[in-house]
């Protein structure tokens, strides 16, 4: 096994399709961050769907940090921008899979450089029930720390990270920017984490 490659990346055909010199690899500690969020974390309770009749209101200042999520798997979804086409939309797919992710006790966080206001409108429109974090100021700082920033375009890459309960990256994937990476890699990685945990117990 190569240095920096965990057993979780093997057998996943996605892993061979794109390579990046920069994106953080399995085995690396996940850099901590604290970002403004569209919703607060209520890990033990699924947040309810937004009320369509209620106008978008100003949320109180809410921040989410990675370190407060220690003890459970975290999925970080870096994506280029809010408002991409609907039916092939990556965020909508993950939203639909929330019950499945909860089965793994995992928390999913979407991150882009969009402002909180864009995030709120986007989450409202797509009825997203998981937090979107605004990597807005300094712009793209968190994406940079994960090696997932496109300097030439000023947006984050389309990249996925699965982080274990100890804050270590266990699986990462950099997708071509215009390709929805889907969920199979994330689900496989969570399953591998779960089986490892069971063996350990």
């Amino acid at each position: 096994m190569r240095k920096g490659e965990s057993d979780m990346s093997k057998g996943k055909n996605q892993q061979e399709t794109t390579t990046s010199d920069s994106v953080l690899e399995p085995g690396a500690p996940a850099p901590d961050f604290k970002l403004r969020s569209t919703q607060s974390l209520r890990p033990d309770r699924e947040s309810s769907a937004p009320d369509p009749n209620k106008p978008i209101s100003l949320p109180p200042d809410q921040f989410i940090s990675l370190s407060e999520l220690r003890g459970r798997p975290v999925i970080l979804v870096f994506y280029p921008a809010d408002w991409s086409p609907v039916c092939g939309d990556e965020m909508v797919l993950y939203n639909e899979l929330l019950p499945e992710l909860q089965r793994f006790n995992a928390t999913i966080l979407g991150i882009s450089v969009d402002s909180l206001w864009s995030h709120i409108a986007f989450a409202d429109d797509r009825k997203l029930r998981f937090p979107l974090l605004s990597d807005f100021e300094p712009k793209g700082a968190v994406a940079r720390s994960y090696g997932a920033y496109r300097g030439q375009d000023g947006i984050s890459e389309r990249a996925l990270f699965v982080i274990d309960a100890d804050g270590k990256i266990r699986w990462s994937y950099l997708s071509p920017i215009d390709v929805n990476p889907g969920a199979e890699g994330v689900l496989d990685a969570l399953e591998a984490l779960e089986s490892k945990r069971k063996v350990a117990v």
């Binding site: 061979e16 939203n95 639909e96 071509p176 215009d178 390709v179 889907g182 496989d188």
Partner: protein, 151 residues
């Protein structure tokens, strides 16, 4: 433009006569699987392409539809999928089977996600995801190629 993937995603649940609605001859060398959402406008367009495709491909292709309803965006999609499932089981009593349909649709959705379905419609030709355009000409060419490979 979105052909960057080299590795091809595979169906994790193979087509089976027990669970799938299959249209077309058993002996067909090519099986086309669509993961679709009844409320997705693109799937609606694809329907007409598939109708024409089925005619052109003749006995060389059989077609399977599996449900991939994005229920938060398309609140009626799951209901429509259930109705279609019920119509497939002619003569069976709707309420009795509603729960079973819900389980099957959820199973379609999850195994679809595991197979690399990331939006609708997504097609698989003989078990491998087809990432090309789903206009008639390229899709028919892909079907014909798959039929040739089987010979």
């Amino acid at each position: 433009m979105t052909q960057a993937r080299i590795a091809r995603a595979k169906l994790v649940v193979p087509v089976s006569e027990d669970r799938d609605h299959i249209r077309g001859p058993k002996t067909a060398p090519v099986t086309l699987v669509e993961y679709g959402d009844y409320e997705c406008p693109f799937c609606g367009q694809a329907y007409y392409v598939l109708k024409e495709l089925t005619q052109r491909a003749g006995n060389s292709m059989r077609f399977v539809f599996r449900n991939f309803p994005l229920t938060t965006l398309h609140p009626h999609a799951e209901r429509a999928a259930e109705a279609a499932e019920a119509a497939g089981d002619q003569g069976e009593f709707w309420e009795m089977h509603e729960a079973r349909y819900q389980i099957r649709i959820r199973e379609d959705f999850l195994t679809g996600a595991r197979s690399g379905v990331n939006g609708t419609p997504t097609f698989f030709i003989n078990g491998f995801r087809y990432d090309g355009s789903w206009e008639l000409t390229p899709l028919l060419a892909a079907i014909e190629n798959a039929a040739m490979d089987k010979k």
